[in-house]
């Protein structure tokens, strides 16, 4: 059946690399295709992508990958070092650390995704509106942003979680509240540059209402910066979540959140180093993955040396 598949493949490739596009969809898909190709030319970025794909797969297939249930205690097999049965050893309650790290990936993914999905749009909206309209709108919105920015991230997150109560949901809200202000600042800076460009003047000269200009013309130009910034901030988000977990304010026991695991592992560091090392390594690798991916994304979306 290869003859049936090859012409079809040729068809898709031909569609994506055609000299002339015949529809808006084709034009957008072509842009996406070439963007992906450029991304693929960057080996480190592909490593980052690889790490994130592995994270996603591990999270999805956790029940299939983890050899033991995440909360199954076995007090007779406490604090065992890494071995063939227990790849990362067992913790103070005899639970398999490897399985807990694997299930913990779900929590990590959940937190990073939710934070990004809340903080980025809020930051983008505040920043573009502030930058485009200027005047009092800008002053008020930016002073609000300044208030949030003047607190160190972790302290602010702590304050919110302390007020709202511990738990993953509140941790997500708290972290999102610390992440949106830098996004707003970034979006505002981009908007200020974009605002004085000829293409914005052109659309104003065609009678476009302000909301349309902001949403359809200004935001797309700020979007890539915000996306890149958020990916680069993912490492920080994970670490903040880990810190909250470390302090007992994020995911609550017995949830296998990596930060919480790191916290308990601290007490056993001298004798059973693997309790802390395993989740610590996981945090390191995932943060690195996001950073490399974000860098690669920046080279594609915001090329400097063209």
């Amino acid at each position: 059946m290869t003859t049936a598949i090859e012409p079809a493949k040729k068809g898709l490739l031909a569609y994506l690399t055609a000299e002339v596009s015949h529809s808006p969809t084709q034009a957008s898909l072509q842009r996406l295709y070439f963007g992906c190709r450029r991304f693929a030319e960057n080996p480190l970025a592909m490593v980052g992508l690889g790490i994130l794909v592995v994270l996603l797969l591990v999270a999805i297939f956790a029940p299939l990958i983890a050899p033991f249930p995440m909360n199954e205690q076995n007090l007779g097999r406490r604090l065992l070092p890494p071995s063939g049965d227990h790849f990362f050893g067992t913790d103070e309650l005899g639970r398999d650390i490897f399985s807990r790290v694997v299930y913990g990936s779900r929590i990590t993914l959940q937190i990073t995704f939710l934070v990004a999905v809340i903080a980025a749009p809020v930051g983008l909206l505040v920043g573009t509106v502030s930058g485009y309209f200027g005047g009092w709108t800008d002053t008020i919105l930016m002073r609000i942003t300044d208030i949030f920015l003047s607190f160190p991230g972790l302290i602010l997150a702590l304050a919110f979680v302390a007020a709202l109560g511990p738990g993953i949901r509140n941790a997500v809200i708290a972290i999102a509240l610390t992440i949106w202000p830098p996004m707003a600042r970034l979006a505002r800076a981009e908007t200020l540059t974009v605002r004085s460009s000829d293409y914005i003047a052109a659309i104003r000269a065609q009678g476009a209402p302000a909301w349309r200009i902001v949403v359809r013309h200004v935001m797309p130009m700020c979007l890539s910066s915000v996306i890149i910034r958020i990916t680069l901030n993912m490492a920080g988000i994970i670490l903040t979540a880990a810190a909250l977990g470390f302090l007992g304010l994020g995911a609550q026991p017995p949830m296998p959140e990596w930060g919480a695991m790191l916290s308990t592992g601290r007490q056993y560091l001298l004798g059973s180093w693997f309790l802390a090392a395993a989740p610590g390594l996981a945090i390191l690798v995932v943060s690195l993955g996001f950073n490399l991916f974000g860098d690669g994304l920046r080279d594609v979306l915001d090329p400097r040396d063209e």
């Binding site: 015949h22 293409y199 065609q206």
Partner: protein, 264 residues
């Protein structure tokens, strides 16, 4: 078509205020091609932006097509007058295809038969349907400027405001775009207001022109008068002679004196 009376534009406040346009008055007849000539900072672009509705801080009277205008324009105004910008590399939104750029005014004004209008206007500027779904970075400077002109035409305005439409283009491309503008003028009877620092472009495209410097109109004359050297102002003569090229008879001492007097 255009009546400007005592237009004043000031930037900045108090002592640091600059008067970019200093009590300027002129008229442009319907169907005419009028040039505003001057060097950088003379105020010609500022005037154009005031007319286009992009600059809202001006005083004086502006009437277009008989109707007196306020700084803030109604949407219907934009169907009357459209502007083409100087820099083809900056005037098209990088994330919109040609189709997207041309669709925007259609959607903003709720026009019907979008495809028909887009095809017609692309044909008018000499770009085939193959260009419809290209992004600006896939177009050359001349092609981008054609798209910018198409965008201005799609609302079927009566007045075209052109801000140095060819100064950022290569000489050979400039000729094509100027010819295109001539064709459009012939086929639609549009009124043109062309701003430029290049006297040869203005003398080629326009019927009448005004020479500006330091925010004021120094002289208004017909192109025929210009060519016959029937100008009155010394500044007009300076511009005229500079446009002919370098004059080897200038001695540098004379020149230095002129330079220092001009504060250059």
């Amino acid at each position: 078509m255009i009546e400007v009376e005592n237009l004043v534009v000031r930037f900045g406040r108090g002592k640091a205020a600059i008067t970019a346009v200093d009590n300027v008055s002129f008229t442009v007849q319907t169907g005419e091609a009028f040039g505003l000539v001057g060097e950088s900072g003379c105020g010609k672009t500022t005037i154009l932006r005031c007319l286009a509705g992009l600059n809202q801080e001006w005083e004086g009277i502006i009437r277009i097509d008989g109707k007196q205008l306020t700084p803030k324009r109604e949407r219907s105004f934009y169907k009357l007058a459209q502007i083409v910008f100087q820099d083809p590399y900056g005037s098209l939104h990088p994330r919109f295809t040609v189709n997207g750029t041309l669709m925007e005014p259609i959607k903003i004004h709720g026009l019907d038969r979008a495809d028909e209008r887009i095809d017609r206007v692309l044909k008018q500027v000499g770009l085939g349907p193959a260009f419809r779904f290209r992004y600006p970075h896939q177009l050359s400077g001349g092609q981008r400027q054609r798209v910018a002109i198409a965008r201005a035409l799609i609302l079927e305005p009566k007045l075209m405001l052109l801000d140095e439409p060819t100064s950022a283009l290569d000489v050979s491309v400039q000729a094509e775009i100027l010819n295109l503008l001539t064709d459009i003028r012939d086929s639609t009877g549009l009124t043109f207001l062309l701003v430029s620092h290049d006297l040869s472009v203005v003398s080629h495209m326009c019927d009448r022109l005004a020479v500006m410097n330091h925010g004021q109109i120094y002289e208004e004359l017909t192109v025929d008068d210009l060519i016959a050297r029937r100008y009155r102002e010394a500044y007009t003569r300076q511009l005229f002679e500079a446009s002919l090229g370098y004059d080897k008879r200038l001695t540098s001492a004379q020149v230095a004196k002129a330079l220092d007097e001009a504060g250059a």
